[in-house]
Amino acid sequence: MPEVKTSQFVTASAAAMLDPKLRRALDRVGVGFDVARRSAISEVTEEAWEEWREEARSIKIHTLDHLDYYLELLHDNVTAAGGQVHFAADAAEANAIVSHLAQNRGVKVATKSKSMVSEELELNPVLESLGIEVYETDLGEYIIQLAGETPSHLVAPALHKSKEDVAELFAAKLGLPYDEDIERMAAAARTALRDKFMQADLGISGANFVVAETGTLVIVTNEGNGRLCTSAPRMHIGITGMEKVIPSMQDLAIFLRLLPRSATGQRISSYVSMVTGPRREDDEDGPEEFHLILVDNGRSRMLRDPKLREALYCIRCGACLNICPVYQRVGGHAYGWVYPGPIGAVVSPMLTGLKESKSLPQASSLCGACREACPVKINIPRMLLELRHRTAESENPQERASSRSERFLAGAYARLMRTPGRMALAARIGRIAQRLLPGMPKPSSSKNRSWISRVPLPLLSRWTRARDLPPLPSKSFRQVWQDELSEDTRG
């Protein structure tokens, strides 16, 4: 598995927010992807969209509830089509299967189309250590491979790179003259990769869906690299998380309507490719061998957990990233592992462990925008709250996200809230303190009141380091009720 840096979220996100280049890149996400998504939805009407989401969700619920059955059906039908299915409990097993197949078949060059699971497995260095050349062929993935980085977005992996960055990278790594014209850079990548496609012995792809009924792997792409990877080499290995299975070929209609619209606002992507086994005897071309690797790698932990199982319904469209106020501020890398954004804040703690990723569930304002945007209606805020609850209550101190002083404050607050007398007393003390302490705004009940940005008291000063507090109003609600409102209702 790639290095897990989720524990550095607090420092990484603080640094990311100060990066003006990243700021510009992230601004494009909101205005680009999310606006396109909304316009695609309004074209089909909100009502139709809502029906599709419901149907897709119910298909996912059913399939995941009977995952063992559908995996076996998938296995049988891939096998019947002449392909081979492999099961991998973790990243090491998946990498061992690919390595074995590559070495055994004398593979020298492999081309890859975009696969988030293979990022999770950190497959490339394993193959490279065997002397195999591995080329990422999605333009965004190619860029970050050349740069030695990791994807920062589920759909647009090189989102954080400016055209100047890419031009410098191509000049340094491909020996091309510096040219920041985007069209010409895309053409340069086409040229550089065309030969690799034709030389490759092995094509590796992910899967957006796998159909149990027919044993079909489905990839949704725009560039054409996915088609080349699954057509030109003599062997194709598809690698996918086991949750990607759907029961019937006919289920695809609904998912192919939801995924491109949610991801990029397209009615459909340029290409959808469906692979069922290797080339047949009288096909003109296509791989002689087809392998499908179904990966668990922590997913059964999510399956086992009824409160978090629905994270497995995710179709990796990235809509929740594009709309998230936290993702839009900090970008993908701050999340510290393969899956960023709101869904990543649920998935990473489950796949890498709560101890490492305990800060991620805190990285949300719980505004609920992710849930609204999700094409399969995953209740991400509920799961983030659940994980926060676990980080707060965990027996294991290493899984606790809060400091001792934060827990002390929360405990004290809870005790106050339970006793009206103490609460009133504390509020009175608070009002006095608010008047006496330096740097406090004037108490007021008006709507445009100023905020307390720093409380010069031991524990509260830390609390307010990254948060503003509303000042206490001159009258508490209880007082207002007693003095004014209750009179009104009686009168």
Partner: protein, 267 residues
């Protein structure tokens, strides 16, 4: 079933001792995660409430397909209009022509506009109806046809496709809902003809146009069951040119696939 060895090892393949988890063990752990008791038979237990689509039998699907055909026939003129409109919105250059002669003429003039010197063409029935080769060759364009029945040497075929200026194909289906062509590579139809050359030109016949994704998957599913569980190795939706927006979210056409795509709709 391939999973025949009693020890459950090498569930994937008889000859090779591959790394990875045996199928039985993997599925057992999934089952256990779902909180279900292990199955007695060693095979997964089907859902108590069966999935409605998988319950449909071949006669069900046949009956739905008959209805579908009737609906398509009735709506054909409207369907062709909406297909042409959605295809244009999806990035195709759409040419509507009436009759085979006009189609051949259109392909011919298109090739001269494109300045094509070498063309690879798939061997599909549409080219029996609309034989384009003579006209093109008369202009001095080299046409390499992938002729059904002949097994072109693989490497040589690939070289021809790489050198071609234009790939010329028919289609298996066309979808009004998305403006897509759906092509199923097989004998006579290389996977690469519509992909590797910088320009793709496709001929579409009215009877190939379906209304929706639902229509397509119903027909494919029916065909799969009719053929006793054979899907064919490959199926591709093509909607407009190859695209990327991976650098600064700026859309560029023609990154790994064709930059320009033309569609000749023969009415």
């Amino acid at each position: 079933m391939a999973d025949s060895r009693p020890d459950g090892k090498a569930a994937n393949d008889g000859n090779e001792n591959l790394p990875g988890r045996p199928k039985a063990e993997f599925l057992r752990s999934v089952r256990e995660a779902l909180g279900r008791p292990p199955s007695g038979s060693g095979r997964a237990v089907p859902p108590a409430q069966p999935y409605h689509r998988l319950e449909e039998t071949l006669p069900h699907l046949e009956a739905q397909a008959v209805e579908l055909e009737a609906r398509l026939r009735e709506n054909r003129p409207l369907l062709l209009d909406s297909f042409a409109e959605m295809a244009a919105r999806g990035g195709w250059n759409v040419h509507r022509v009436s009759g085979v002669e006009a189609a051949i003429g259109r392909v011919d003039s298109l090739m001269s506009e494109l300045g094509a010197a070498r063309i690879v063409r798939s061997g599909q029935p549409v080219f029996d109806d609309a034989p384009v080769d003579n006209a093109l060759e008369g202009r001095g364009i080299q046409v390499t046809a992938i002729v059904q029945g002949e097994r072109a040497e693989r490497a040589q075929l690939r070289q021809e496709i790489r050198r071609a200026d234009v790939g010329l194909t028919g289609t298996d289906y066309a979808l009004a809902e998305t403006g897509s062509l759906v092509i199923m590579p097989r004998r006579g139809l290389s996977r690469l003809v519509s992909l590797v050359p910088p320009v793709h030109v496709a001929l579409v016949r009215p009877e190939e146009v379906l209304e929706s994704l639902h229509d397509l998957f119903l027909l494919r599913r029916l065909e799969y069951h009719r053929r006793g569980g054979e899907m064919g190795s490959y199926l591709n939706f093509i909607t407009g040119p190859s695209r990327t927006a991976d650098i600064e979210m700026t859309i560029v056409q023609g990154v790994h696939g064709p930059k320009t795509v033309h569609l000749v709709l023969i009415e």
